[in-house]
Symmetry: none
Subunit: 217 residues, 4 copies
Amino acid sequence: MGCAAGSAGRRVPRPRADALRNRERIVTAAREVYVEYGAEAPLDEIARRAGIGNATLYRHFPDRHALVDAVVRSVMVRAAEQAERIADEEPDPFAALCRFAHLAADERIGALCAMLSCGFDRNRPDLDAERRRLEGAVEGLTERARRAGRLRPDVEAGDLMLVLSQLSRPLPDSGSLDMGRFAHRHLQLFLDGLEAPARSELPGSAVTLEDLRRAAP
Amino acid sequence: MGCAAGSAGRRVPRPRADALRNRERIVTAAREVYVEYGAEAPLDEIARRAGIGNATLYRHFPDRHALVDAVVRSVMVRAAEQAERIADEEPDPFAALCRFAHLAADERIGALCAMLSCGFDRNRPDLDAERRRLEGAVEGLTERARRAGRLRPDVEAGDLMLVLSQLSRPLPDSGSLDMGRFAHRHLQLFLDGLEAPARSELPGSAVTLEDLRRAAP
Amino acid sequence: MGCAAGSAGRRVPRPRADALRNRERIVTAAREVYVEYGAEAPLDEIARRAGIGNATLYRHFPDRHALVDAVVRSVMVRAAEQAERIADEEPDPFAALCRFAHLAADERIGALCAMLSCGFDRNRPDLDAERRRLEGAVEGLTERARRAGRLRPDVEAGDLMLVLSQLSRPLPDSGSLDMGRFAHRHLQLFLDGLEAPARSELPGSAVTLEDLRRAAP
Amino acid sequence: MGCAAGSAGRRVPRPRADALRNRERIVTAAREVYVEYGAEAPLDEIARRAGIGNATLYRHFPDRHALVDAVVRSVMVRAAEQAERIADEEPDPFAALCRFAHLAADERIGALCAMLSCGFDRNRPDLDAERRRLEGAVEGLTERARRAGRLRPDVEAGDLMLVLSQLSRPLPDSGSLDMGRFAHRHLQLFLDGLEAPARSELPGSAVTLEDLRRAAP
DNA sequence: TATGAATGAGATTTCATTCAT
DNA sequence: CATGAATGAAATCTCATTCAT
């Protein structure tokens, strides 16, 4: 069957190759720039870094929100892919959780949490699929660890995701400071605590992914 | 005769009472606004909130940096005071650490960590006194807990301060989300881990306050 | 001899059917959009409304001016056709004038007067034929009424055309206001005055179509 | 009694002289530019013409709407003043109406009708006073003429205002065309018709000022 | 001294027009 | 020939900082 004229006469013209490439370059540049400058980064800087005119950026993403959406989506997908891969490869349930956490930190998930938090907005049903995929993968990892008795029972996947994001967030203007070094250290410290038996009753209730989902602006 | 007009023509005018009050109001307003808007808050908004003209703000603080300095100094002092008070009042070394951490989170120390990180800038010797006072107080608390065997020995005061700041940072635009709830929960989770025996070797070396001091932009 | 494939290699390709249809759709869409948005309407909106790509629009009309020309030409032709038809059908000379005026108002001739005024530009000899046809038709109507003593003798066809355009121009952003209602009312009021005997000497001299012709930018 | 500390301790600092002067210059420049360019005139052009920086314009008028409001208010006041003065000076009721109409045309009331139509917006209660003043003055003139039997009884003040605005509107881009000449001519033609006895029943009902008031975007 | 006002530099966004598929 | 994409120039608006009262 031909890939093109499948269904009725509708015109769904396949996106042009160069446009796709540009779109990709914009999202990549945006992720870098967001990590570097924060979410307030000037769009012109993103366009410059992507090597395109600023108006081209607006053709692909009608406003700054749409670009953030795209970056969030891409980050979610990458994180989900890693979670799924690790679930397949790593036999030890807690080690799997740890590997995922450190990899996600390397993915700059914390630097992008400004945007990620938007991604959990219930008003963005267009991110639903990606969100559910990521949630499912992370919940799979935590559930497995919990069943194996390797995770404090009062801790949820949402707790992990939020702490992970916060601990790996760059300090604003922390030019020369290598946050990565701190992030991995503190993440491991935190993970160690997750495996140890509970010592105190935690204040508040567990943070579920549903909580994060309700959190958006 | 006022205390000012000591020698002949020299002018060492004691700051007027209203000027002092204005200065105070500006710093208070700035702290609120920074917590609310982030460090990019428009200076006019701060002036408005303080109930003064914008030019008055510039008379007291020649540029945006000077104002941040003042806010940082005030936050440092408040945190140091609490640390010192708790050290006096709380007999249990680990409980003292915990109480300090939660109180500091309530002080929005995380919301202000953008500015705090500036405060550790080596180029601001005018913050030296306050910084040393805060460092001393927190190191006192951690040292006491460590000696009592209630703190993982591979953890430093700087680790605590940094994690504390990160975990209590508000999510950007987290409108309806009550970060306080999460902050205290995750802080406690982290503190529980600090008390438990080490389960893994932490990556990187301990974060000392000296490290943070070197981190500034 | 066929008109097309006359000599050897010359290319005088008869316009393709679809190209003609596209051209027609563009002009129709442009007229609608101009009435709706004014002459500043984005060309992309016109292309969208016509259901074609924007570059196609440029193929047919090299610049915004050319498109306006085409719309003006089409409006002129429609108005001329009506004037000619009414001249044939309506025995009463003044009633003919009135019917033409009200019909032209319904044609949105006022909404398009921005462009019509361009149409009288002497620099557009390509509109000459259409302009002369419209002028001829309207002058025929006024001349007949004047000869029958039903029209103030100091009034010219150009006066009528200009007043007609002005009175039926939509107010900018007059969202809910039904200009049609006002236009027809005030047009009739004006026409009543045209039939009545002169009460005062009019300032200025009569507006001839030649005047309008010289008016363009 | 001092002019300042009249009532309680409220601070209503008298606007500075230079600011007032600037405000005045902006409004004047805006009126000119609107007449010339239409309501879409670039704000930078207005600022340039007023001889101030563009940001100063924004200090006085937070957005383009606020500036239009100010221009509308000023035009309304000038027109009302003229109507009142003429009512006092001109003994002949119909001549008074005519003088007002021609003067208002000279005031470029038609060129500004884009903005005037906004001025009749019911959502701008801040224009209420000026609007009522103008309405009152014009209704006074028409009522007097009607009572004297010098005005078609089926015509209202609103009809006059609207026709007056439309007939004196400049053609878009009518660079070299002297609209003033046409405006006065056609206005007089229309006014002649208003004094003559009715020849036909007008379509629609009279346009009251209330109608215009309801017309806004 | 305190203040409202002024300002230029920069950010976001739109649009007519050109380019490449 | 038709089209989506690209683009620079311009318009609106914001804000840190300086100026004048």
